[in-house]
Amino acid sequence: MTLLDWTIAPFNDYAFMRRALAGTSAAALGAAPLGVFLVLRRMSLMGDAMSHAILPGVAAGFLLSGLSLWAMLLGGLLTGLLVALLAGVVARLTPLREDASFAAFYLISLGLGVLLVSVRGSSVDLLHVLFGTVLGLDDTALLLVTSVASVTLLVMAALYRLLVAECLDADFLRACGGRGSWAHMTFLVLVVVNLVAGFQVLGTLMVVGMMMLPAAAARFWQPTVAGQIALSALLGVGASIAGLLISYHYNLPASPAIILTAGVAYLFSVTCGPQGGLMHGLRPRTFSLKEE
């Protein structure tokens, strides 16, 4: 089998492969800018916490209206935003910092989500919420994930300067009259929306991997924010292609294959990436005697 056959043929022959690629690529494109900013703002674990926070909302939506996509989306959105809001409030008003308060809320929401799932008995459909049905994306699911990705890219483009300024020097931005906190809130909303929209594609547990792994890997290759976003999108799409091909040729489940491919890319970047990768740290430095 030629290389071309190996890579192109599966997508050529099967519609479900093409749809899966479309869905995961859209998720990767939407997640790229979000992931990069999460990494830069040191909010990576928060992204993970948010994906757990979505679970009780989705479970509640499922309980109330069965497999209705909109009910689950709405539920997930509500609980995700609620947890984001509550954690922020607790951090602001009490001595507990944001990381601990997030951890507390996401554990609560995870427990609540599991409880709600158990009430409905063993529900395979809800398990597919956790792991996604990337090989069975219907038109509604594809439409949802691509429109969310498009909206995310547009909004992030608009907010780009604000977010950069806020990450760099939040107080300075405030002193200049910039609306840093609004940008931050919008950003969090986008994160939740992408996590919720992505659950059909990769499942709530792994969609955050598509957000974080390419972004974390890109950091080791690109020195600028814009560069990191572009590379992160590329890595995400690449991982989707590779993961689907691996699933096809080696008979492995699809969404873990995609996420693990992204994980391998990350590990490679940590070791070999020029911007702070381990290998580059080991090389002997040449000292410059030039005055500052």
């Binding site: 950069v164 760099l168 020097d169 300075f172 931005l173 002193a175 609306r179 950091r219 690109q222 924010v225």
Partner: protein, 270 residues
């Protein structure tokens, strides 16, 4: 300094209705004091989570003055500056600014406040000083970009423009912050420890810049640790130690008795 070619248009009207003539960077113009001060503080207190870090501060910053804020560590100097910038609400008392002053105040924060690891070039970081004019969405026009290069040259960082902010040394970072401040082109300059961890060569050069701006008629307020520098360049001094100890001409404010009181006062309040 002293370049011509790129001028910053600035026209402003003070409260008295007197039009203050244009000030151009690099040209010396006579100052004209207008009647109202830039900022008036009345028994104001600032702090965090309800606890005051600085209190009982009363006085005025006259337009075109050059005031140093001095005091021992933990005296609340940074807090006061942040309050003057508008980042903190007064816990007590009041702070009034002259008309239109709010947006014409530029702040140089402590270098530690900035995220040095953020992947941004020196050029872009300095360019954020144009926020007032460019905001979150307007495009950077050619003249604005030229201004950015101009300020970089003024502080001697034009060759570092493409490097990442994290690669700069301490002295270079301060210069970059000065460049940003310069780009803001404000009438009132509030500087928080502008010469901390900077070698004397750089601090001299930056001090010259500051004096130049003062000579253009801008009001300068700077938090400083080095009292010799205060005595040499600053006509007015506000001495703080939690509460206001003295505010007036430098020689007056920094007499031995006041300094002793400042040291003692801080120990009391702890």
């Amino acid at each position: 300094m002293g370049r011509d070619g790129v001028g910053y248009g600035l026209v402003e009207h003070g409260m008295s209705g007197v039009a203050i003539p244009r000030y151009e960077m690099g040209t010396e113009v006579e100052k004209e004091f207008s009647a109202d001060p830039v900022m008036t503080l009345q028994d104001v207190a600032f702090g965090w989570r309800g606890r005051a870090a600085v209190w009982a501060v009363s006085g005025r910053f006259e337009r075109g003055s050059m005031t140093a804020i001095a005091g021992p560590n933990g005296a609340g100097k940074s807090t006061l500056i942040k309050g003057m910038v508008g980042l903190l609400r007064p816990l007590a008392g009041s702070l009034q600014t002259g008309s239109g002053e709010r947006r014409r105040v530029a702040w140089l924060p402590q270098a530690a406040d900035l995220d040095r690891s953020f992947p941004i070039t020196v050029l872009d970081m300095v360019a954020t000083g144009a926020w007032d004019r460019v905001g979150a969405w307007r495009r950077f026009r050619r003249e604005e970009t030229q201004r950015v290069w101009h300020v970089l040259e003024a502080v001697g960082l034009a060759d570092q423009a493409g490097r990442m902010v994290g690669a700069l040394s301490g002295g270079q970072m301060q210069r970059a912050l000065f460049a940003r401040l310069m780009l803001q082109d404000a009438q009132v300059l509030l500087l928080d420890e502008p010469f901390a961890a900077v070698d004397s060569h750089t601090s001299d050069a930056l001090m010259q810049l500051l004096c130049g701006w003062h000579q253009e008629g801008r009001t300068v307020v700077a938090v400083l640790h080095d009292l010799s520098m205060v005595r040499e360049y600053f006509a007015q001094t506000l001495l703080l130690a939690g509460r206001q100890i003295a505010w007036g001409p430098t020689a007056e404010a920094l007499k031995a008795g006041n300094l002793a009181m400042a040291r003692g006062a801080l120990q009391e309040s702890l």
